[in-house]
């Protein structure tokens, strides 16, 4: 009988924790949604800000965030996947590799503002990319490298060793095996990493603070060397600067809502691709 009670208490506790978590999630969606929805209109989505950011829309910031996120993923995905392949498939098991693994894990723990300053020193100044989409994407890319690397490593590990054996036993080289068997089979898992990084990148403020973000721009960026507005930074600016706190706060909630939707939208695309890939291989 006592075992039963212990089990009931255990399960109740776990359920409680679960509901608390879900509660927070819904609370966020509810508060942001109910406040943000008030300012959202067609104009808000398609126009640039007007009247010292108290009117108009936030379209340049939406576009900017899209560019920065895309840029970061384009930069980090090949690099991260290559790194994971090296670590999992090629590297001899040695202490150097262990140090590399450890470094990558540590990279994940570096505060994001550090990447901002690093980006300023290296991409903006040293390489002379200036405050631009390129610099910001690179800084964000480095930030999510560990996420993509560890997701890719997990995905590669999950590909059964027997498939590699089967491929090699047919006379395929190691490279052919990785490219044609292992990578396609690992792709859904790698895309999970991409989904996680999209959420991370789109919302980061610190790394783009000194590398990419502009306070206010009238138009859209013209090239990868242009400054951009970005939603997270725009929210920060609205809440800390300017002379019309009330209108600005309302707009900031609108931006939050759009940011949430944007992340959801980009993740949905990645999930769609992942699903299609899975059904292609395991359908």
């Amino acid at each position: 009988m006592r075992k039963d009670i212990a089990q009931k208490i255990g399960f109740s506790f776990i359920s409680l924790c679960m509901f608390t978590t879900v509660l927070f999630l819904f609370a966020i969606i509810y508060f942001i949604g109910s406040r943000g929805i008030k300012v959202i209109s067609w104009e808000f989505l398609t126009q640039a800000p007007r009247n010292a950011m108290t009117a108009g829309g936030v379209a340049p910031a939406i576009v900017g965030t899209l560019y920065l996120t895309l840029g970061a993923v384009v930069f980090a995905l090949p690099l991260g996947v290559a790194c994971a392949i090296y670590l999992n498939e090629y590297s001899p098991k040695s202490y150097i590799v262990n140090i590399i693994r450890l470094s990558i894990n540590n990279l994940a723990g570096v505060p994001s503002v550090v990447f901002g300053l690093f980006g300023l020193a290296v991409f903006v100044k040293f390489f002379g990319f200036g405050v631009s989409i390129l610099s910001g994407s690179l800084a964000l890319g480095i930030l999510v490298l560990p996420v993509i690397i560890s997701a890719s490593q997990e995905a590669l590990l999950a590909v059964p060793y027997s498939l590699r054996e089967a491929s090699l036993a047919l006379g395929a080289t190691k490279w052919q095996t990785i490219r044609k068997i292992v990578l396609p089979a690992a792709l859904p898992g790698i895309l999970t990493g991409v989904i996680l990084s999209i959420g991370r990148v789109a919302g980061e403020t610190a790394p783009i603070l000194f590398t990419a973000a502009a306070f206010y721009l009238k138009g859209y960026p013209k090239s990868i060397f242009s400054e951009v507005m970005a939603l997270p930074y725009h929210i920060y600016a609205l809440m800390t600067e300017g002379a019309h706190p009330e209108q600005q706060t309302a707009i900031a909630y609108g931006c939050c809502l759009i940011l949430l939707c944007l992340v959801l939208f980009m993740s949905a695309i990645a999930i769609f691709i992942r699903q299609r890939q899975r059904s292609h291989y395991y359908g």
Partner: protein
């Protein structure tokens, strides 16, 4: 058809026409995992158009032994191999021999069916593609031919573009055999091919092996002695990394010379 393919066809024809020819010769094989010796002084010949069975209790080194033939042992770190293995008189362990080429010439079917997570057609065409064949019609012809040879064609001909993972275990194993056949190997290694199959699927694989020996030299590792008796012409008995006895299958099962072999065959241990 490109030159490489023609060479592959040529080889095939020359193998078929001869009988009782030593296809693989393993000479003075010693093999170590780290410092632990897994195989001791093994000498064994595999003949063309014959089935050679390797039997013995778990952990006796049978799988380790046949994995030397297609150099799969090189995938395991920290191993040492001494001795020579000849394929048609050519030393296949030499430094200048490409292991990929050896693996194409010596196909392997594994213990658990391991089809690629691709469709049935792609599973078989893969081996051709990685060996540099691009001609679509040729590939298609070879895929069909291989499926027929592996006795799978009738079951899958209407769904070549379905995922191979939807096939039953037995069908998957025959697909793996077809996949091997597609690259026109000269030897087929079976590493306990029926270990995870039901009796009916096992029966089909065994019939297939008997059919395939007309064209190939076959080595089968099994710990099912009835299976060895049913399909093989020669049998080698391994125990603790040593080849205890190697002879015609009939002799091994009816009149073994070694007491240990007799004990194992009659089920006194194992």
């Amino acid at each position: 058809m490109d030159s490489k393919t023609l060479i592959m066809e040529d080889r095939q024809n020359c193998v078929c026409s001869q009988s009782d020819l030593v296809k693989i010769k393993a000479q003075d094989i010693n093999f170590f995992y780290g410092k632990q010796q897994a195989l001791k002084d093994i000498n064994l010949d595999v003949l063309s158009n014959k089935v050679t069975a390797i039997i013995g209790p778990s952990g006796c080194g049978k799988s380790t032994f046949i994995r030397l033939f297609n150099r799969m042992h090189e995938l395991v770190p920290n191993t040492t191999l001494t001795g020579r293995i000849y394929l048609d008189g050519q030393d296949i362990l030499g430094a200048c021999v490409d292991p990929a080429e050896i693996r194409r010439r010596i196909g392997m079917v594994f213990q658990k069916p391991n089809p690629f997570p691709k469709n049935i057609f792609e599973n078989i065409s893969y081996g051709l593609e990685v060996n540099g064949i691009k001609n679509k019609e040729f590939i298609e012809g070879r895929v069909i031919e291989s499926l027929k040879k592996a006795a799978l064609w009738d079951e899958v001909k209407d769904r070549l573009h379905d995922s191979a993972l939807n096939l039953s275990g037995g069908q998957q194993q025959r697909l793996c055999i077809a996949r091997c056949l597609a690259v026109k190997p000269e030897v087929l290694l079976f590493d306990e091919p029926c270990a995870s199959l039901d009796p009916i699927s096992t029966r089909k694989i065994e019939e297939l092996i008997l059919e395939l020996k007309k064209d190939y030299a076959i080595v089968i590792v099994t710990h099912n002695m009835q299976q060895a008796a049913r399909v093989s012409d020669y049998t080698g008995f391994f125990l603790l990394g040593e080849l205890i006895e190697f002879d015609k299958t009939e002799k091994i099962f009816k009149a073994p010379k070694n007491q240990k072999t007799e004990d194992y065959i009659t089920g006194r241990f194992g």
